[in-house]
Symmetry: C2
Subunit: 190 residues, 2 copies
DNA sequence: CTGATGTGTCAGTCATAACAGAAGTATCAG
DNA sequence: CTGATACTTCTGTTATGACTGACACATCAG
């Protein structure tokens, strides 16, 4: 027996619990299931690495669910397995660099959903070009869509190559550009 | 009777149907229900404004669902009501400027989900500061999270004020910056 | 005023996905 | 080798929300 808690629910400080609940709900609206987001939030706020058992106890969810969720989180590289000396159990800790977190999430989503959609769109455009039933408007719109997605894609890929520090620089640069452009620096308002 | 189609399903060109299906699926993974995304895709590819009845016929879904979905889409300003001379029925057409589309979606999501989460986070930080049960690590992480969200928020708000043309300029500017920074322009690689 | 047409609302049904608990597998101490 | 511990996988249950079809309301022509 490593700990006193066997199947009881360990209480959490109220603000921490509130954060975890909100974070889980947020993830839920964003296509990430609640448990995964909650576990990530818990690990993010935790002092040190936690075991699956502790996580289950603190969140009040089944160990099996914790196991599955942890695997997902490791796949997304949002948490790490941390071996602890003298303890056979797996411990987990969260990535704490939030820039890294959003980057990883964006990477995952892009690879899983955006890239396939992009490929499908390419096929649609190709098929539409060869299909006399597709009218000119649809053809134009499909092409517009593809051009747009490609622009966003290449922009994103370039951003990925940047280190975090450059991101920060870019954002503040963006602010300056905004400030410079706001008074009417050469672009029409619409 | 305005048209020959009463309750039959109107066929769609294969590439168009494929696009609509993929788009709907995409939206589904992103927290938008499938019907809404499909209707938007259909309108986006349509030559002219469509009635609710036609949409239902072409997508093979119930008129009631179309009615609800159209209301949502109008609320999000992704489609417009278009009155047609000599026709009592409402016609709808999609916003075709894709920059506008992503902007509207982002605005909606921010207002509905990010802003409330931001407010909740603020409360959490405030409550945590007054709570002795919250350890230093959790306190630091919550503060980090808040700072991060605030940075992203103000950046986003500034971006919103920009016209589309400036967006394009910014993105290409970003590309130049990326190119300039890539060889090692002064930032550590990590 | 009245019938017809279009639109919005509602309650019931159904599909999907997350979850819990149990069973199975692997690893380690003694 | 054997028992115990940690972890994973599997299956049945449950809850959420999307969809349908029926109903109610509004609007317009005659």
């Amino acid at each position: 027996m490593t700990d006193t808690s066997e199947s009881t629910i360990e209480p959490l400080p109220a603000p921490v619990e509130k954060f975890i609940l909100h974070w889980g709900d947020m993830g839920n609206h964003w296509g990430v299931n609640r448990s995964i987001a909650q576990i990530h939030a818990l690990l993010y706020l935790s002092d040190g690495p936690l075991t699956a058992e502790r996580i289950a106890a603190r969140l009040g969810i089944a160990r099996s669910g914790v196991s599955n969720s942890l695997r997902e989180l490791v796949n997304w590289k949002l948490i790490r397995r941390v071996p602890m000396r003298g303890d056979r159990r797996d411990h987990f800790e969260a990535e704490t660099d939030l820039w890294e977190v959003v980057k990883r999430i964006a990477e995952g989503r892009k690879a899983r959903e955006v890239d396939p959609a992009r490929a499908a769109l390419k096929e649609c455009v190709a098929a539409a070009e060869a299909d006399p039933d597709v009218d000119g408007t649809a053809m134009t719109r499909l092409a517009d869509m593809m051009a747009f997605i490609e622009t966003m894609n290449s922009w994103y890929e370039q951003m990925l190559t940047l280190p975090k520090t450059s991101w920060v620089a870019l954002i503040s640069l963006g602010s300056q550009v905004v400030r410079a452009l706001r008074p009417g620096g050469g672009s029409r308002p619409q």
